[in-house]
Amino acid sequence: MSSPMLSRPAPPSADPPAGAGVVLRDLARSFPGPTGPVHAVRGVDLTIERGQTVALLGPNGAGKSTTIEMLLGLTRPERGAVEVLGRTPGAAVEAGLVSAMLQTGGLLHEVRVRELVALTAALYPRPRDVDEVLALAGLEPIASRWTTKLSGGQVQRVRFALALVGDPELLVLDEPTVAMDVEGRHAFWETMRGFAAHGKTVVFATHYLEEADAFADRVVLMARGRVVGDGSPNEVKALVGRRTIRASLDHVDLDALRRLPGVEVADRRGQAVVLSCSDSDAAIRALLQAHPDAHGVEIAAAGLEQAFLELTADHDPPAAGADQEAVR
């Protein structure tokens, strides 16, 4: 498959640049499942520079959360190594260099919002001012409220404050805006931008392309436990903004299809061919002109899922891979 806009994940360099924020080397982890082990992460190589804001973008089950848990030292890798700011995850966390907003997790009971933020501040060596963080996270009006009397969005904002108050070098966010409304999301990312502007490293997982596009310097695409693409938000948008044309066509040369205007990738899936297009209008005209016998034609916007499936096709040929000859 040709994907000129996206660089393939680079092989791990022997010497990661000095001052790398996060280095993941051949990271793998599986979990026991009902029908054998589920390979959540299967060999992730990734180097994130200090000061970068990086989105891990991928559908559910892509391995984003497991990768993040290993990055934070919450889950032990089965294989591979993690380095965070030049040390092990545990050492980085203990030194107060890292904080995170996990995907799940409630707040302690029997405390008020301000107390919880103040306690967290007390656990870090160089915390930020508690009042400042409360204001930043929009918690001033509810600072004296009990943590059990908050809405879902408010809980997220408290968890955000808990992640900010330690003033870490690396901030890790696992789908941080899930419970927030549109307005809350906007405010959240505005605050994040301010935080990143101080030269901090931010890694966030999301399955919203718009979030990755709007707030990341770099988007790492994950699917089926692997990094399947890595590029700037514009590059990623161009990729996943594609349309696909699906048509039944016999005895056709995939190479010829790939040369049609507007076509980026041509694949055979059983009786059908699937064309991934940068310009589907041009492609469909050319296709029908060249192959008037094409039938059962469908044009669809390639959603994230589709884009990810395409990207992973060459990594993990499915069982029926024999009839899937892809042209690269």
Partner: protein
């Protein structure tokens, strides 16, 4: 520093927990006032030569301190249920400081339970020499060390749902074979009881009744249980957190 800050915070939370305050402090107090209060004039309980307020006070103190330590388990289990332990693990608070805080909080509550019962006892006319008060208190505080480990173990092993039955049944059984509410006669029950830390906790309380504290066997039982439960608690903690 962080341990102090966290312990203070924990203590505040515990005291705000109405259920805890009721069951660990209020409930024994009310029981005591009902039972001992209605027998306040009884100076020779069942021919033992002991006054009812004194006898029930030492029983309640042993019970209250033990429950205070075990309640750590409930708090850990509920923190695990809401995922707060994971949140803490991505802060600089070390595992050692976390566990130390839990034990320290348990001890603070045990002390509080002790003071509450002592005041209630004194109000019903219990008199002891200063030396007895001190010896009994110190031995009680030593005697609950294995229960600190047991609390941490239960907290990492049992879910919040099953903690109630486990604690209710387990503690009831322990109390029965350890002579919390009535002295054990010679026999199988007592032979079993003497191998349990709770039995020796009761004996620590009995210093207030003129007892001698622990013989060598008592020290050995307490030491052995502390080591075994401590190792099990450490293992349960590691398994729960996925640490090596």
């Amino acid at each position: 520093m962080t341990t102090v800050a966290y312990a203070r915070f924990e203590l505040l939370r515990v005291l705000r927990n109405r259920r805890f305050v009721f069951f660990a402090l209020g409930f024994p107090l009310v029981m005591y006032l009902l039972i001992a209060g209605s027998n306040q004039g009884e100076d020779d309980l069942s021919g033992s030569g002991l006054s009812a307020p004194l006898y029930f006070m030492v029983s309640m103190v042993a019970w209250g301190t033990m429950m205070a330590m075990l309640s750590t388990g409930g708090r850990i289990a509920s923190e695990r249920a809401i995922g707060w332990n994971r949140q803490l693990r991505i802060t600089p608070l070390s595992a050692r400081a976390y566990l130390l805080t839990k034990v320290a909080t348990g001890y603070a509550m045990a002390l509080l339970a002790m003071v509450v019962m002592y005041v209630a006892g004194a109000a019903l006319g219990v008199h002891l020499q200063a030396g007895r008060w001190i010896a009994m208190s110190l031995m009680l505080l030593l005697g609950i060390v294995p229960f600190a480990a047991l609390g941490i173990l239960l907290g990492h092993l049992v879910s919040t749902d099953s903690l109630g039955p486990v604690m209710g049944g387990g503690v009831g059984l322990l109390a029965f074979v350890s002579g919390f509410w009535f002295p054990l006669d010679d026999g199988v029950l007592r032979d079993v009881g003497e191998q349990l830390p709770s039995y020796w906790l009761v004996q620590a309380g009995h210093i207030g009744l003129g007892g001698d504290g622990w013989p060598a066997h008592g020290w050995i039982v307490l030491g052995a249980w502390t080591i075994v439960l401590g190792l099990l608690a450490a293992r349960a903690y590691r398994r729960d957190t996925g640490r090596v």
